[in-house]
Amino acid sequence: MQMQEMQEKVRTKARELLQSGSVDCVIGYERATDGKTARPAFIYTADDIDRLIYDRTCVHNLAKYLLDRKDKTTAIVAKPCDSRSVNLLINEKQIVREKVYVIGTVCQGMPDVTWNQIGEENQERCQRCAQRTPVMYDYLIGEPADAVIPTFKDVEEMEGKDIADKRAFWQEQFSRCIRCHACRQFCPGCYCSECFVDQLDPTWVGIRKTTADNEMWNTIRAFHLAGRCIACNECERSCPVNIPLSLLNRKLEKDVGDMFEFQAGLDSEAAAPFATFKKDEHLKGVE
């Protein structure tokens, strides 16, 4: 299905949902001030429907906004990656399935998009994405496409490096971190009412922003997402200093997949790997 047709279907369905009163708000995409890329849009009335767009610049994961609207009914435009985030939030009992209407869109990948700039090819994460069809939806736009086996070549390459090289690489990356916490704010999996980094009693990290503190921040955030991260890449996309966060999160995604045969966000009922265990499991590296 062409993008133009997809956009029309998004608008038609959104209009229908708002006019019937089934939802309070439709969260989708609209044109940004550069005239060529997309930004998140909150449509509250059918009069504003024509603000909605759908094209190859709609890279944002809108699922996080559902956490601001827990007691209201909301429709959301969700790509396959975004639909996994919605599943995660349902699984973790942060949102109620009945209050969300998912307008799922089949996706062949999107380019790197920043304000006023659209990349040529698909993003790296799209090139290795396993899903082309949303894993859950109330209404599907586009013909369902087959899933693909995910690859972790970038993680494997890093794993194979010498320990001193790995250390030097990550120290350099974390020295650039300005601790804006955009990664956390954009991540649908990060919703703790008090994040460990803000805890002052005890102070694990607190307000100091040295390389060592930054390393703690980034690595523990990654670990708190182990078995939960669906690699939507919002963290890396929003990072103003280009830290390759997906290289960090996906190491854990790969190991969780290998050790527990589990992928986050595919099933809203599945037991999370760190909330369960098997009494007689033999895990690599543990005697």
Binding site: W204, A212, M216, A222, A226, D255, F274, K279, G285
Partner: protein
């Protein structure tokens, strides 16, 4: 018990008591490295023998994932160990601590930034 039995083990071990190994958040491990530890040892009850029934099963999964992750970041796997030692196994505890201390000594001090606030002139 090692103490009350007057067994000796290396003095450069700093003991952090937790009620159960299941209480251990990877946060504690990374923080320990950042405040200057060259090695971190987790000693927990044997699987099946947890005082709180299941804590060590959860810890086992966390450890299995954390160890390769630390290695990925440049902290050698050998600096992080999990041993099942029960409260009454004094001799085993002393042995485990000795052998771990030796191994960490061989690796040398951990290279990497520690948590120190920079001075004005080096605030970059």
């Amino acid at each position: 018990m090692a103490g009350t039995s007057r067994m000796s083990y290396p003095p450069n071990i700093r003991i952090i008591r937790v009620p159960c190994s299941g209480r251990i958040d990877p946060l504690f491990v990374v923080k320990a490295f950042q405040v200057g530890a060259d090695g971190v040892l987790i000693a927990g009850c044997h699987p099946g023998d947890c005082h709180y029934a299941e804590g060590n099963y959860h810890l086992r999964r966390r450890f299995a994932l954390l160890r390769p992750f630390l290695d990925y970041l440049g902290i050698e796997k050998e600096r992080f160990r999990l041993e099942w030692v029960s409260a009454s196994e004094a001799k085993r505890f002393a042995q485990v601590v000795s052998s771990f201390t030796d191994e960490v000594r061989k690796l040398g001090p951990r290279k990497g930034r520690e948590m120190k606030t920079p001075a004005a002139s080096e605030a970059h």
